[in-house]
Symmetry: C2
Subunit: 123 residues, 2 copies
């Protein structure tokens, strides 16, 4: 699978999981994985899963606007850069966001998230 196909499949899976079964996101991270969420740094699948499930809203919907990707080096990693907007239940306005992921291949032929950086884009 080329980097574009990996990125497209990952982005679809990630945001669908976020919007329908947020607790399932922890499975995408490993012990050395890092999340920077609005400047807060969190490491490892338990802490990252707790952060994401503990965000102060129940329902949300991500609309992806752009997906860029590049191979991250000779080891088969893929960098994914996403822009889009986020609709929270009960909120009138959408929030714009940018997010990047560094995906690393696993011995099982899948990918995990080594790096994840998320920022809201305030207008």
């Amino acid at each position: 699978m080329d980097a574009d196909s990996v990125a497209k499949a990952f982005v679809a899976h990630y945001y669908q999981t976020f919007d329908t079964n947020r607790a399932g996101l922890a499975n995408l991270y490993q012990e050395n994985s890092m999340l920077s969420f609005e400047g807060e740094k969190i490491q490892g699948p338990q802490a990252i899963g707790a952060k994401l499930t503990g965000l102060p809203f129940q329902q949300c919907h991500h609309n992806v606007s752009t997906v860029d990707c590049q191979p991250s080096g000779p080891a088969g990693g893929v960098l994914v850069f996403v822009s889009g907007s986020l609709q929270l239940a009960g909120e009138q306005h959408q929030l714009k966001f940018s997010q990047m992921f560094h995906l690393i291949p696993t011995p099982q032929g899948s990918f995990y998230v080594l790096n994840d950086i998320f920022r809201l884009n305030y207008a």
Copy 2:
């Protein structure tokens, strides 16, 4: 130098060079370097330098709002994620942007840009 110091120094250098001596940016890239600029993929220092110097404005000023960074793996790479705004000479409104860089250490003890992804954040 830790990842935070590398990221901070790189971001200051990159945008100052962009705003005062854009042709100097090509030196930050190597043959395997990739730039995704608003979805267009460009590879190598000559092509990347030509793209950046050929952008249809003469003067600009970048204002950096946030810088996030993480180590990209065991090889000493650093991922840098920037948000900010861009003021073009003669334009009233600033353009918001997000950009990510993957910095790779060189044998000379410096870093080069392997991956660069740039997107304007349209309101």
